[in-house]
């Protein structure tokens, strides 16, 4: 006879761990954000929204997510489909593609910094090809578009692998029969992909999008390494308010804004990409 309390006992350590290290800090952050001089007030939020970097940080964060996440999804989808058709060396290709996953955020940011800085590899190559006569600045406040592209490309390079791995796992679970049936009925490869594979991959796509969107809103080390103060995002502003301005209240307000956006994005994806009941197995 199974012991009724055993499952609860087994999940208790994980629940306790999350409770101590997630729920308590969350409540404390909420309290910090809504308190000014130990009294309940909205002062931290008015300071945050009134700050000259707030609008920029909000815009940069959203732009980064809106550009990086769709590109990552398309790239990862293409890579997953290509892997499907590889006969030999599949494991090695997958391994190489997931290398960026093993590199820390900051290291990835520094790698791209050495490429894009004034004396970096990109300028050296362009100079030797005769494209430029003198070092070109890519990461300054005067080149916001190049700076944004640099951050976006670094973020795409770093985090496409996680989307790929989720999709590859999803693709592996697809029964072969559906594809074969589509071929029998004369579907072109594109039709088979859009009408059969893509709908069946919906749960994997949903997980990947939620994970990537939340993490892209939290992008920090890559942004700091490449953009510094020239490219404020929500997380870097939270850091600046805590670290440089020594105002934990405003930093906590930023943290709550980031959390609210992440929760909202997750709910949107859960709703938009939900698997209809009749399709659930």
């Amino acid at each position: 006879m199974p012991i009724r309390w055993l499952p609860y006992a087994l999940i208790a350590p994980a629940a306790l761990f999350l409770g101590v290290l997630f729920v308590i800090p969350l409540v404390q952050t909420g309290a910090l954000a809504f308190q000014v001089h130990d009294a309940w007030a909205l002062g931290n939020f008015t300071r945050m929204t009134g700050d000259l970097n707030f609008a920029d940080a909000l815009r940069n964060s959203f732009q980064l997510v809106l550009v990086a996440v769709p590109v990552q999804l398309c790239l990862a989808m293409g890579m997953a489909m290509m892997l499907r058709h590889l006969q030999r060396g599949r494991a090695i290709v997958l391994w190489v593609w997931s290398i960026p996953l093993g590199i820390s955020d900051l290291a990835a940011g520094l790698v791209w910094l050495t490429i894009l800085t004034d004396q970096g590899y990109l300028n050296s190559v362009l100079f030797h090809l005769g494209v430029i006569a003198a070092p070109e600045g890519w990461l300054t406040y005067e080149t916001p578009f190049a700076l944004f592209m640099a951050v976006a490309i670094a973020e795409i390079w770093r985090a496409t692998a996680i989307v790929l791995l989720i999709l590859v796992a999803g693709v592996q679970m697809l029964p072969k029969e559906y594809g074969e049936a589509a071929a029998v009925f004369g579907a072109s490869p594109w039709q088979a992909f859009t009408k059969v594979t893509l709908p069946l991959l919906r749960p994997s796509i949903q997980s990947a999008l939620i994970l990537r969107t939340v993490l892209a809103f939290e992008a920090f080390a890559v942004v700091m390494a490449l953009g510094g103060r020239n490219f404020p995002v929500l997380v870097s502003e939270a850091y600046a308010w805590k670290h440089f301005n020594q105002d934990t209240g405003v930093a906590a307000a930023y943290a709550l804004v980031i959390m609210a956006i992440s929760v909202a994005a997750t709910l949107v994806f859960l709703r938009l990409l939900r698997t209809p009941v009749e399709q659930q197995t």
């Binding site: 000259l52 004396q119 080149t143 103060r229 020239n230 020594q246």
Partner: protein, 428 residues
């Protein structure tokens, strides 16, 4: 059964033997807001503290957190820190809180070291007691690549430069090379705010807080925004000026002496050093005095006093100067065989201090944990006026209100060169 007590005895004896030396060698905890970079802290532990007989635990800490930690330890009634080092303005808030113990006996014992009288006076914080013993000093200087010297405006004396001449120099450099070669440390961890607080604004307005939105301040920001046209756009990524000086991206740069010292010692033949420029009111400059204090309830007062003695020894002062770029506060004569790079650094500090039109400006005093927000007001003004091109008068009105609110909240009285105030310093 008789065996057990014997074993117990042997084990306890062994434990005691182990414990005794540990107790005797208990280290003196030395908390410092200075020499925080890993390289500097390492030099502190391996070179500056080398000849000291006792055991020291050197703990670098962010300035604001240093104050908070000392206040918390006092409130808790349990002190772990025996010696604390900080810049004059950082230690000042500890005075009204009663956290610093009088060191008049130490000052008397060390009289022969020959402390500069004005530095010793600063260590009293306006009280009757010596609460801080000067340890080392520094300031901010200009460094120029010798390649830039031919483009110096005609008739300009590099050691008595004005901001207008610096702008002309930058313009001439851009015309000749096609590149913007002036540099300021406006990166995320750069010290750009000190340039506004201690150099630009005192030079133009003769004050910092009181004159924040004066007509002279509007002129200062307008002219600086014009000068910025000749400043490398990489400045907002520069944290330590020595790096772009060494790569040649900057030919004329401003920074803390400790943040250019690498360039000076690595390539002493390539650079010259000189004081920051002067404005209509004079040559604003910011002396940085680092002092040593013993907090109340310090667990190892004797160790702390011995450490103060060691750190102010002539030999230690010279090692400190030649390794981390902080200069003697005593009459310790610098050795004649000083390296060329260090000679450049020392001469810059000396020329800055000796300038006839100098306006010495203290680091912010009495702001405590709000000093970060004080700096942000100047950096936000910079971002709006210089980087975004907003109108200075509107920006100064807005930032001036923020500054006034901050001063009212902290109640900090004015510090030099603003005139002495009765209560909180007021933005006029």
């Amino acid at each position: 059964m008789t065996k057990h007590p014997r074993t117990l005895l042997i084990v306890s004896a062994a434990l005691l033997a182990l414990a005794a030396p540990v107790r005797a060698q208990q280290s003196t905890v030395f908390l410092s807001s200075q020499l925080r970079p890993v390289e500097s802290a390492q030099i502190m532990r391996t070179q500056i503290l080398k000849g000291y007989a006792g055991k020291v635990e050197f703990v670098p800490e962010q300035p604001a957190e240093l104050v908070v930690r000392l206040q918390a330890e006092k409130q808790a009634g349990k002190s772990t820190i025996s010696l604390v080092a900080g810049v004059h303005g950082e230690l000042q808030p500890l005075v009204p809180a009663g956290i610093l113990t009088p060191l008049d006996d130490v000052a008397a014992t060390l009289k022969a070291r020959g402390f500069a009288p004005e530095l010793l006076a600063l260590g009293k914080f306006g009280t009757d007691h010596q609460l801080m013993i000067p340890w080392m000093q520094a300031t901010y200087v200009m460094v120029a690549n010798k390649k830039a010297l031919p483009y110096l405006p005609a008739g300009a004396d590099i050691n008595a430069l004005t901001y207008a001449q610096l702008a002309d120099w930058g313009a001439a450099l851009q015309k000749a090379t096609g590149k913007r070669l002036l540099g300021f440390p406006a990166g995320p961890t750069g010290l750009m705010h000190r340039f506004f607080e201690g150099f630009l604004l005192p030079s133009y307005t003769g004050g910092v807080v009181t004159t924040f939105k004066s007509p002279e301040a509007i002129v200062a920001w307008t002219e600086f925004a014009a000068l910025w046209k000749f400043v490398t756009p990489n400045s907002t990524n520069i944290n330590f000026m020595q790096e772009p000086l060494l790569t040649g991206d900057v030919w004329v740069g401003f920074d803390h002496i400790a943040r250019v010292i690498d360039a000076l010692t690595k390539q002493p033949n390539d650079f010259v050093t000189f004081p920051a420029p002067a404005g209509p009111k004079g040559r604003g400059w910011m002396p940085v005095l680092v002092g040593l204090s013993i907090p109340t309830g310090a667990p190892d007062v004797a160790g702390a006093k011995a450490l103060i003695d060691h750190l102010t020894l002539p030999a230690t002062q010279i090692i400190t100067a030649s390794t981390v770029g902080f200069f003697p506060v005593t009459s310790a004569a610098l050795p004649p065989d000083l390296s060329p790079g260090m000679t450049l650094a020392v001469s810059a500090v000396q020329k800055t201090g000796a300038a006839k039109d100098g306006i010495a400006t203290l680091l912010p005093v009495g702001l405590g944990a709000k000093s970060g927000e004080f700096d942000k007001i100047f950096l936000d003004t910079f971002q709006r006026v210089v980087l975004r091109g907003e109108k200075p008068d509107a920006v100064l009105a807005r930032q001036g209100a923020a500054l006034q609110a901050l001063m009212a909240e902290t109640g900090a009285p004015c510090w030099r060169p603003d005139p002495v105030s009765a209560g909180a310093c007021q933005v006029k």
